[in-house]
């Protein structure tokens, strides 16, 4: 029996189906990402699991019991909202303790557990601060601590890193993964960032227009995309000889598809090329090994291993 079971979940607003027959099973302790562009239904799915939106049809089961009959307040899920939604009039400690208060945990135990969880997210020194006095990254950690301290059966995250700058985002992603591995909570993350989904998840659900186009581990979804949409959404893809070829699999050789370099962009650890060929514009990525590379306007030949 799966830990969380979404069965043919559908949500229609008027005639528009935001989520269209989504089925997904999540195992205990798994980290699953709902990945897709805006409007693909990933946030609506999360809201249905949380209980803030009622499905039009379909079922949600947690450990076998029907979750749809349970009110949001009683579902026992930990949620991190995109805007963090911290209680502005309470201190960090009070924010984190709120869920425990609602559960009726005694004051002494509350203080202990809040302390432990804040330690886990690295904010032990910030107990008396107000949300206003914290940076974006710190606020996000408080939101995470607030969701984790109640020992939820599932942790739901709604694009939690979208408000952070690139560097901080990278750091927080690694931290989240470590925390999730330490605590072992089943986690569902909603994101539009494919790099983030691939970095963090055990499995990715690539969604488009309310449907799941592929469900699988990141490596598998990347190397063996089920549809053209998945291929172009997860990383870059070229359509060559009727097959999908990843840019990093193409090299510059003495024989092969002839073309001319239109653009060359340096990205630090790799070079990004756009090559004009009879088959269309091809994207090539070559690692930066320190060797001389073709420049803009050069004539090149592209070669890749047959699929």
């Amino acid at each position: 029996m799966a830990f969380l079971d979404l069965e043919a979940l559908t949500k229609t607003f008027g005639t528009h189906a935001a989520v269209d027959g989504l089925s997904l099973t999540v195992e205990k302790g798994e980290f699953v990402s709902l990945l897709g562009p805006s409007g693909c239904g990933k946030t609506t799915t999360l809201q249905m699991i949380a209980g803030f939106v009622e499905p039009t049809s379909g079922a949600i089961r947690l450990e076998g019991r029907d979750l749809l009959t349970v009110k949001p307040a009683k579902r026992g899920l930990g949620i991190v909202f995109q805007s963090y939604a911290l209680f502005p009039h309470m201190t960090v400690a009070e924010n984190v303790a709120f869920g425990l208060e609602m559960q009726g945990v005694a004051a002494v135990d509350r203080v202990k557990r809040v302390g432990e969880t804040l330690e886990l997210v690295g904010l032990a020194a910030f107990t008396g601060r107000f949300p206003r006095q914290l940076s974006g990254g710190q606020q996000q950690r408080v939101a995470l601590a607030r969701a984790l301290v109640i020992r939820p059966q599932i942790l739901l995250l709604d694009e939690p890193f979208s408000n952070l700058d690139a560097k901080l985002r990278g750091e927080m992603q690694i931290e989240l993964r470590q925390i999730q591995r330490t605590v072992g909570t089943t986690t569902i993350l909603v994101t539009h960032d494919q790099a983030e989904a691939m970095a963090l998840s055990d499995r990715i659900v690539v969604m488009n227009q309310g449907r799941a186009e592929q469900i699988g581990p990141p490596h598998e979804a990347y190397e063996r995309p089920a549809t053209a949409f998945v291929a172009s959404f997860l990383g870059k893809a070229n359509l060559l000889d009727g097959a999908i070829v990843r840019p990093e699999k193409i090299s510059f050789a003495s024989v092969g598809l002839a073309g001319k370099v239109r653009t060359r962009i340096f990205q630090g650890n790799h070079w990004l090329y756009q090559v004009e060929t009879p088959d269309g514009l091809v994207t090539v990525i070559r690692q930066n090994t320190g060797e001389a590379m073709p420049g803009e306007g050069d004539a090149v030949h592209l070669a890749w291993a047959p699929i």
Binding site: S83, A85, H89, M102
Partner: protein, 283 residues
């Protein structure tokens, strides 16, 4: 420092000075003059009026009543106005726009007309409500409303309610809906959400509204004049009385200036306290 900004605001400043500051200054000076029934106003500088206003038990009673009424009005508008604003905030359009008009509409009508409306409803034997209640046998004598402090409080609360609703509504607009959802997800029931999450966040709005309502209620004239009649006076109607009936302008001036000073102190002090208490939280 460029003088252009100051020169540009000079016309408005002059108008303000001539129409507000100068008469105010003259009133303050007037309060120090002497007055006699036959000699009229004598332009000297004495403390007779101030001594009378600050020590005579009659005036203490008047000011006590003024601030007592203002306090009850403030509490009433807070108790009824805050929930009203909350319900208004939760409405969907077009109802929200319609009810906003219903709540703020009274501001478009003269306060005299509104107060007379109360008089028509509750006034003595001929008041509509009293007539109805008596004819249905629910009461034996008409409910006292006119010429009572309770009547003044009720009418003033009704007149000043829109200000409280507006202040609370403005505070509610700034709330993030997700914060309430977060509380629900953590297990809070609807009442707990209201008490622990919504109320503390709108409290600065309620307090701002309270300061406005208190100041307006303490300085109110029309409603106390109509409901209170000749016997039940508050500071504003007292000053009016001194000026127009007794003709003791210096004494009237002293009453008016004392009310002004007291309200300035209360409003500034209360605002300062509210800002300090919530600065850390709301910035």
């Amino acid at each position: 420092m460029k003088s252009t900004p100051y020169l540009l605001s000079l016309p408005a400043l002059l108008l303000f000075a001539v129409v507000v500051i100068v008469p105010l200054g003259m009133t303050v000076l007037l309060s120090f003059h002497d007055w006699g029934q036959y000699k009229g106003i004598e332009p000297v500088f004495i403390l007779k009026n101030w001594r009378e206003v600050l020590t005579d038990s009659y005036f203490l009673e008047m000011f006590g009543r003024t601030f007592r009424i203002a306090l009850f009005v403030t509490v009433l508008t807070a108790v009824f106005g805050a929930p009203e604003a909350y319900i208004l905030n939760r409405m969907k359009s077009p109802w929200r726009g319609i009810f906003l008009l219903v709540i703020l509409g009274p501001l478009l009508i003269s306060v005299v007309a509104r107060t007379l409306g109360w008089a028509l409803l509750f006034g003595g034997n001929s008041g509509l409500i009293n007539k109805a209640l008596t004819s249905w046998g629910l009461i034996s004598a008409p409910l006292p409303f006119m010429f009572t402090e309770t009547g003044m409080v009720v009418a003033l609360a009704h007149v000043l309610m829109p200000y409280m609703v507006l202040a609370v509504w403005a505070a509610l607009q700034r709330l993030d809906r997700q914060v309430e959802n977060a509380a629900v997800a953590l297990g809070a029931g609807s009442f707990t959400v209201l008490r622990r999450i919504v109320l503390p966040q709108v409290m600065p709005g309620i307090l701002s509204g309270a300061i406005i309502v208190f100041a307006l209620a303490a300085s109110a004239f029309a409603t106390p004049a109509i409901i209170g009649g000749r016997r039940l006076k508050v500071a504003a109607t007292l000053a009016y009385d001194e000026f127009l009936n007794t003709l003791n302008w210096p004494l009237g001036a002293a009453v008016a200036v004392l009310l002004l000073v007291a309200l300035v102190v209360i409003v500034i002090g209360a605002s300062h306290l509210v800002e300090r208490r919530y600065a850390q939280v709301f910035g």
